[in-house]
């Protein structure tokens, strides 16, 4: 089963994402901030890496961007989608060194999100 790791500092958003993604047939893990994302991956073995990262751009302790930067530095090439609360976040804003697969804005357009996930995890 395709596994997605979702990181957001809002529990409600995490619940929403989990419900919606599980309904679409994905296995969902959650993290409350970027630190939990990097911890999870450092602890886990290589085989336990999720198939996709869904990271909120702005979180306390460690942002999604910072977490992704650390992961990329550690050689993790898992596709990542960044969710931003900024209205006009576009692919043009993507830090080029991070290999971000796409940007989504809040409120989340779930149809678009599910399309992106399906495309990025199709092997």
């Amino acid at each position: 089963m395709t596994r997605v790791l979702v990181a957001d500092d809002s529990e409600t958003i995490l619940l929403l994402m989990r419900t919606r993604l599980e309904l679409a047939g994905y296995e969902v893990e959650t993290a409350a901030d970027g630190q939990e994302v990097t911890d999870l991956l450092h602890e886990g073995e290589a085989g336990r890496l999720p198939d996709l990262l869904l990271l909120d751009a702005m979180m306390p302790r460690k942002s999604g961007i910072d977490a992704l930067r650390e992961l990329r530095a550690a050689g993790v090439d898992t596709p990542a989608l960044i969710i931003s609360a900024h209205q006009d976040a576009t692919d043009a804003d993507a830090p080029t060194d991070l290999e971000v697969s796409g940007y989504l804005t809040k409120p989340i357009d779930f149809e678009r999100l599910l399309d992106s996930i399906a495309e990025l995890t199709r092997n």
Binding site: S10, T12, I13, L23, A85, Q87, T105, K106, F110
Partner: protein
Amino acid sequence: MAVIGVGRFIQQRQDFEDSIARSYQVEMAARVQVAHGTGGKATRAAVTAQANRREELRDQISSDTRDTAILVAAGLIAGLTGALLLFSGLIASMRRPLEELVEASGRLAGGDRSARVEVGGLSETATLGAAFNEMADELEQEASQRDQLDRLKDEFVLTASHELRSPLTSVQGFAELLMLDRDSLTPKQVDTVEIILDNCRHLVHLLNDLLDLARSDAGRLAVTPRPTEVAPLIDDAVRTMRAQTEGASQMLSERIEPGLPLIDVEADRIRQILVNLITNAHEYSPEGASIQVAVRVVDAEVEIAVTDDGPGIPENQLEHIFERFTRGDAGLTQRVGGTGLGLAISKSLVELHGGTIGVESTPGVGSTFSFRLPVSSRAPGAGASPAIAEAS
């Protein structure tokens, strides 16, 4: 020098008068002796000598007078020159600070808040300079306070809009979740959820508009223009609005002049303006109204006009129509779902593209909102005019 000369002249004159008087006294005494026959030959010689002496004295005084006159003239010339120098120095010492004041005032009026003058010169100009500097200080302080307030306001709108998006995501997301399972909901529940979703969309629209305006105010609303074909843009906007206008049995049509040149625009922003204008025409016009989007070239500009045959706009509302939170007739706004920001944003966006926007309306006949955008300087592509296409 003139004073010394005049002083010397008076002294000499005095001495001369005294000497002449003495000479007469001596001569008179001599003449008395001669008259009494007591004086001899020597006495008569003394009378002649005194006459000669006075002659000498007169010669001397006239030569002294000439010298003195020269001295006085030289003194006067020197004095005048000195006064002139002093005066021109005085004028210069007033003129420089005044010129500096004029120049600094010009810079201050031109928006250079750091314009100050060097305080110096005469006490009057120094006071004027100090007063100017004080005024400039106050202006600068007020301007920086106003800038700070503006920044705080922009920052607040940006942050608020950002912070509101997370809870809005939850509300909209869970309402959508409910609708995924709509078969298990009663019709009343479906209606309720649809109302929640409608209002979520309205809130998002409002947040986006507020953010655009805050950016526009902060000078941070930017567009990335690219040479763009006009017709597909119009088609796109019309397609977006079709469902809504058909829902009100309104006739939405387009009339596009063939062979339009390219325009340098950010396509999404032009679509946003068009959707704003068509939405207004749709919402302010009754059922069955007709709305037309017409595009043509006027004076090297592409003009896009949205015309409706709705109720029109009274003249007193027309002049404020592009101001934010200005909305049409209050009776209608009950059912009109706009934010009151659409036209203000459209105006900012059109101007950001170097274009102009305007409105014409006749109550009872209808309204036309039109905007003009400069034609792209790049070579026309697929949108080439027939004339050029034939020539090439």
